[in-house]
């Protein structure tokens, strides 16, 4: 049975559409469910304001829905609107676009649900803050949508830029770019939602701290976005690097590994940084006097939780820019691909763990600023231990790249 290239392109487009919509529907539904649950909780606490709470829930859910709508648009385009030059590179681009959008919509959908739900709770607690809570909720949800927008941009580029004249390395480069952006958006989407949610809750608890809460929410969410930006940068590099002088094997496998390394490594760091941002907003709402130590320890803890994503980025750059000798057997390709997979997977847990440690330290610095020194020390020690498994993964990756 021989299958012509035209059929492969259609197979890739249909599979991409399925990935895009199937995966893309996960996050928005979870986020909207969280918002609706919180809205019910809020209504039972303060039934007099049920109308306002209902309105807030619908607005919040509409923003969370955006991520799924992006996925729907990409899926429909993949089904009907794609044409142009037909080659295996086109097929890889279409599948990559579906993967990018599908995975990329998960985090933003979940993340946007947090501010929506917390805004409903806040409204029940402090109805006269309606206007500023709504504004904060909209800003926070919009920031959480950013990774999905990155994923959509990458998906559009993969679908509509004609790469078919490039070397055959582009087949794996386009797939890798799609996976990198898709995976990389998951953590940042969820992570950006955490500070946005606790800023909405904090505004209801402590209206006087509104402007400071907005500032900390934006800083916290911006740092959580960094891993998604790493992933976008690597996706662009993969799309626009000219690999044509290099041997097809093992470069293709190394390129795939490079995409997976940064993409997966971004998941943990995105979520971890978000956890820290969440308790920093919570802390300054509870203890307005602790603003300075809380912001300081938030930035420190977020910086440490970025390290696993940076290891992923490092491995990706090595894999992309290394000069490969032609491989005479499959094991060389496997070693490079495995290096990327190892670093990507290995960075997920430490990223989340480091963020969790940082979040608890931030919470207790807010409550007990006089113990900042002790808390910072134990936080850093705890984070260093949690980091160790990411370092093992880095070592194994480097061994796979340079010794095998």
């Amino acid at each position: 049975m021989t299958i012509d290239i035209d059929s492969w392109v259609r197979v890739a487009a249909f599979a991409g559409a399925a990935f895009s919509m199937g995966l893309g529907a996960i996050g928005a539904a979870i986020g909207e469910g969280f918002a609706a649950g919180k809205a019910n909780e809020a209504t039972s606490r303060n039934p007099v304001y049920s109308g306002e709470i209902f309105k807030m829930m619908l607005v919040g859910q509409a923003v969370a829905e955006t991520a799924a709508i992006f996925a729907l648009v990409i899926a429909v385009l993949l089904l009907f609107a794609v044409g142009g030059t037909i080659s295996m590179i086109t097929a890889a681009g279409l599948l990559g676009a579906g993967l990018s959008m599908g995975f990329g919509a998960i985090g933003s959908g979940i993340g946007s649900g947090f501010p929506a739900g917390e805004a409903c709770s806040g409204l029940a607690l402090q109805p006269e803050m309606n206007r500023s809570i709504t504004t904060t909720m909209l800003i926070g949800s919009a920031v959480s949508q950013t990774p999905a927008i990155f994923a959509m941009v990458v998906a559009f580029m993969l679908m509509f830029i004609d790469f078919s004249a490039s070397s055959p390395h582009m087949i794996s480069a386009l797939l890798a770019a799609g996976m990198c952006m898709g995976f990389g958006a998951v953590g940042s989407g969820i992570g950006s939602g955490y500070p946005a949610g606790s800023a909405c809750a904090g505004m209801a608890r402590q209206p006087a701290m509104s402007s400071r809460l907005t500032t900390n929410m934006l800083i916290g969410a911006a740092v959580s976005q960094t891993p998604a930006i790493f992933a976008m940068v690597v996706a662009f590099i993969l799309m626009f690097t000219n690999f044509s002088g290099l041997p097809l094997h093992p470069t293709s496998a190394a390129i795939l590994g490079a995409g997976i390394a940064t993409g997966m490594a971004a998941i943990g760091s995105g979520v971890g940084s978000g956890l820290v941002g969440q308790t920093s907003c919570e802390g300054i709402a509870r203890q307005p006097l602790s603003v300075t130590p809380v912001t300081n320890i938030m930035l420190l803890a977020q910086a440490v939780s970025q390290t696993p994503a940076i290891y992923g980025l490092l491995i990706s750059f090595i894999l992309i820019f290394k000069k490969y000798a032609p491989a005479d057997n499959i094991s060389v390709s496997a070693a490079f691909f495995s290096a990327g997979l190892c670093m990507g997977l290995g960075a997920i847990g430490p990223g989340i763990g480091i963020g969790y440690t940082g979040s608890k330290a931030t919470r207790w610095v807010a409550r007990r600023p006089e113990s900042t020194g002790d808390l910072t020390r134990v936080m850093l020690v705890g984070q260093a231990v949690s980091e160790s498994t990411a370092i093992y993964s880095l070592v194994i990756s480097l061994v796979l790249i340079f010794l095998m």
Partner: protein, 82 residues
């Protein structure tokens, strides 16, 4: 590119090493982070016991680390011994 048995075995051991270390690092990373977080909470509640709490945290983390080290050992065995 000829595919021979020995090369498939090497490829499998490289992939296995990457998967072993990569997947094996997820659990300890989260678990140790959880221990660290709870230690910060405990020191926040009772700063006078900071020394004792740090020691307990480190012992707990060391135990949680063990599965990460098992993964590392298996990955190194797959790469250099098997």
């Amino acid at each position: 590119m000829a595919i021979e048995g020995i090369h498939i075995i090497h490829a499998a051991s490289f992939l296995g090493a990457g998967l072993a270390m990569g997947l094996g690092a997820i659990g300890p990373g989260i678990g140790e982070g959880f221990v660290g977080g709870k230690a910060c909470e405990a020191i926040g509640k009772n700063p006078a016991e900071a020394g004792l709490l740090t020691r307990t945290m480190l012992v707990g983390q060391a135990v949680s680390e063990s599965t990460g080290i098992y993964s590392l050992v298996i990955a190194l065995l797959l790469l250099f011994v098997v």
